[in-house]
Symmetry: C2
Subunit: 242 residues, 2 copies
Amino acid sequence: MASFDKTLIAKLKEHSRLSSEDMAILRGFSHTFRELAPNEDFIRQGDDPHVSAVVMSGWVARYHLLPNGPRQYLSFHMAGDWPDAQTLFLDRMDHAVCAIGPAVVACIPHKEIIKAFEHRPPIGFAIWRETLIDASIFREAISNNSARTKPARMAHLFCELFYRARASGLTPDNTLDLPISLPQLGEALGMAIATVNRTLGGLRASRTMDFRGGRLTVQNWDKLCAIGQFDPGYLHLKRPAR
Amino acid sequence: MASFDKTLIAKLKEHSRLSSEDMAILRGFSHTFRELAPNEDFIRQGDDPHVSAVVMSGWVARYHLLPNGPRQYLSFHMAGDWPDAQTLFLDRMDHAVCAIGPAVVACIPHKEIIKAFEHRPPIGFAIWRETLIDASIFREAISNNSARTKPARMAHLFCELFYRARASGLTPDNTLDLPISLPQLGEALGMAIATVNRTLGGLRASRTMDFRGGRLTVQNWDKLCAIGQFDPGYLHLKRPAR
DNA sequence: CGAGTGATTGACTGGTGTCAAACCCTGTGG
DNA sequence: CCACAGGGTTTGACACCAGTCAATCACTCG
């Protein structure tokens, strides 16, 4: 089982400075692991969790459950991400979190995190910053799904996920395992399945990327970024990937 | 000039508990006022601000500047809101903030806020919570602009703004001054101006609300919420409005 | 009085959602 | 061991929403 060093701590260090004492505290967080089956919900809308989960392996996604039944996927999270640091200070979950493919998360009690925060403010600042970057990613998603053409929208999402994975050292080459189905892609990007598939075909034809069988292959990064109008500034990472 | 008591502090108390000592510290924040002309930018994309602004009167909006020239409005903020608490721990602004109509903001130095935070963690938690609620509003905007029909989308935005204003005690009756132009509405909701106008006409015809000349009038709140699928849970307010 | 911006409406067209069918693959149970 | 069900993928046909373009009017400001 991966340790916090290679996930949580590595992730926080992408944007924040941590003293060795801070890292020792983070490393010492008590936690329990939880294995998730594909599509298994980890937190539901309306829950009031008292633990916070860090992704250890696999992918996890946030989503809104819409009144008519379908979902709106809001963001995707990989090893090291802390998708529900958001829940630290919010009582009722306004969204749900589920696994995309098989995943493992580590659950840390809220109390412990807040205690660490009071003892060592820089830890709080780092986690706070993590939640602010999440917010920035949400903002980008608003623009992506509202203002960009369908091909740009899709290209941008793949750019973001690949870039973030790359920055976290999760992929050494130009591929990325991403067990997202086409219906899920549609529910993330606000487009019908038919359109998802046709747009995907268009990107394939442009020879910039390929996505099939849950695996993304980037063939021409620069051109893909141009199509998706991708500028990684909004990810606020200290050391850019690549 | 309005004081922090009726804006910042009242707003934080909508979702967080503050001791009298906390409030005294907040009240004592040094600050300078800045008056903004309609459409005047307060912060630009790429800036690295060392002060944080609280809205004292009027409206302020966040937006992304898109490569082709147009904007994507991300959120709207009224008196008491703290739109760039987001900037406390992020170096480069990934979005801009401008005034919608004439507005007044109070600028507080970052250093002072962080010092207060180290001295009294509950103040930090309250402000952190404020930024988390912002994030929740962003999430809702993703769903709104991605998954809802055009009429629902527009109704939802008006529901949110009216509800938030109401919760802040900014309007005693069923009207709200909201100097947003139709082009701006379009750039917020991801729809063309022509569609904005036609959709607005449809809502008028439903006799649930009217919006003209920068003034919103709510005629049938329940029906408007139904059209917009509006559920205020995501605003995480302790005492609901109405 | 002109320039600029916003509001409003009409006409046209293309993108995209909806519907439908077929195919592939996997897991399950008779 | 095979039949079947279910989900994902792919493709086609079709209709309609909504974006684009254009024209007009109202209003404000210099």
